[in-house]
Symmetry: C2
Subunit: 332 residues, 2 copies
């Protein structure tokens, strides 16, 4: 694979240039550049520059408003709602997260619901934002049916990711961010290309039969991770991200999407909790005892550790040359 | 199996008699009878009368104080802590849940942490309590290492159950309550007795090797459900139920338990959220649209539906005669 070295500043500047050329104002372009540059910094390439063409499609079709100005409403001292008015999620998060963090630090717990947003990124930027401020963060979002509830053969749930971050003062947080689907459809397609099988329980063929052949799953449907229990978690994500925000469930997102390949409109629910207030001041030492136990086990790696290690590298990143060419072609 | 028919009132009266005879005061005995009678009512026999001998062991050893009077502290308008002072969890819940529900109805979200309690029951009574009042409920607890984190071969996590309930005005809630272990150790033992194999990923033998032989897992260790993703959920339960309450992690519970067979001391974290406040007044109709989609899928049953169906039967329950004899023998 041919690559081109770009510094993180260069990556950010490129994204801003592309977004400005496609209808974003400065604030929206900067919020998108920030989220994608952080993904590249951490080695999460699937959520970095790789996403630029999808963002641009949604801007060009008019589905997403690159000049939207999110409005923040503090419904109660602990409940904040941000209406993105059709923006991409990052600028709505930038507006809402400081208010959520403030509320949780004061009252111990808070909920931030995002509505009218188009989410196309990882969720760890939200939960890490909270953890960096000494708060526990939980975030989830849901849209576009891709996963059949356990027992059924038809997609109803989205891939429904959930992220959780636990703060570690003076260190990077313990943080996971995972789809509640068994596997990303992209990974199914790669397995099919490479002629590998996938584990039982990953998905069904187009007749609804279990299969370990990824080519058949690509024409069929994914299943939730972990059978009935994972399906219950995925259902919870639908209810929190859509039922509790008032935004679209996955099946509604599909009914109302224009199919331009960019992210559908959906909701996001973000919770923040203060261990200082709920557990009291001794929590850091107490939790470090648990983290140490986990860390010293053979075969166990703290969730998030790989990204945090990549983050230490402040040097240039090797960007896929073909992708770079595609992205530069979007500055028209 | 020989059985004896008992009405729910008779079951409750029996439990109260046993608990009073073993050092409980009226309030503690009633709270225990309430929780176990509700389990019998719903057909959850593993959490009904079956638990009585375990409760009595912990009372007789002095590990649990059957006369404890939980104290409720409202740390902020949204954060409540109940210290059980060594009680069984039900009386601490009875003290804290009304305060939590009140807080969540007013401010939109609330957290209730239970410390100094011994939890030996299901978690759906807590989350259903909240759902019956129009609130979303999440509860989790953790103690006694029984599950090896994915990738490792040694128990660190408890079976770490998590329950979630979504309110449905005029109907029973959508509610699940599940261990984050792949399977209950009791079910492993039953499979071993019956000579059945269990699915790959259920557990490891005593040398840390994967096996589908339940007899070998019974001597080895359980795994979380759903591999690495389920392990992340189980870790979250440890952090919420112990890190965020300030109570013992599973490994600490084991270090400090007297091994009498009753429940170890642990914490419980309960969250409540108001969809009226967070989503606004249209949520019931919106969510019913999703629930209807789920309900009409072949092969899908709403979580909790089996229990709620059993609940409709107000008649006598067939109680295992040998268990009944054991329990009556505890009134001494």
């Amino acid at each position: 694979m041919s690559t081109v070295d770009l510094t993180l500043d260069e990556i950010s500047a490129l994204i801003i240039r592309v977004m400005l050329a496609n209808g974003c104002d400065d604030e929206n372009a900067s919020a998108l550049a920030d989220i994608m540059t952080r993904a590249e910094r951490d080695g999460s390439h699937s959520h970095g520059l790789f996403r630029v063409p999808g963002y641009v499609k949604a801007l060009r079709s008019g589905k997403v408003n690159g000049k939207a100005k999110p409005t923040v409403t503090k419904i109660t001292p602990a409940v904040i709602q941000v209406d993105g008015h059709g923006c991409f999620a990052p600028i709505a998060q930038a507006a809402g997260l400081p208010v959520l963090a403030e509320a949780a630090k004061e009252i111990g717990i808070g909920a931030l619901s995002l509505i009218g947003v188009h989410h196309f990124a990882s969720l760890w930027p939200e939960t890490e934002y909270l953890a960096d401020r000494g708060l526990v963060g939980i975030a989830c979002t849901a849209y576009m049916p891709a996963v059949a509830p356990a027992g059924s053969t038809t997609a109803l749930f989205g891939t429904n990711p959930i992220s959780f971050a636990w703060p570690r003062p003076g260190s990077t947080p313990v943080v996971y961010d995972m789809a509640t689907a068994s596997m990303a459809m992209g990974d199914i397609q790669i397995a099919a290309r490479d002629g590998r099988t996938v584990p039982a329980g990953t998905g069904l063929d187009q007749d609804g039969n279990p299969t370990t052949d990824p080519a058949k799953i690509a024409k069929g449907v994914l299943l939730p991770f972990g059978g009935y229990k994972g399906s219950a978690i995925s259902m919870m994500v639908e209810l929190l991200a859509a039922g509790l925000t008032g935004e679209q469930f996955s099946f509604e997102a599909k009914e109302n999407d224009n199919g331009d390949g960019g992210p559908a409109r959906g909701g996001e629910m973000i919770l923040a909790m203060s261990p200082d207030i709920i557990a009291g001041p001794d929590w850091p030492e107490h939790v470090e005892g648990f983290v140490a136990k986990l860390n010293e086990m053979d075969g166990v790696r703290l969730p998030g550790a790989r990204r945090h290690k990549n983050r230490l590298d402040t040097g240039a990143r090797a960007v896929n040359a073909a992708l770079l060419e595609t992205i530069e072609g979007l500055v028209t």
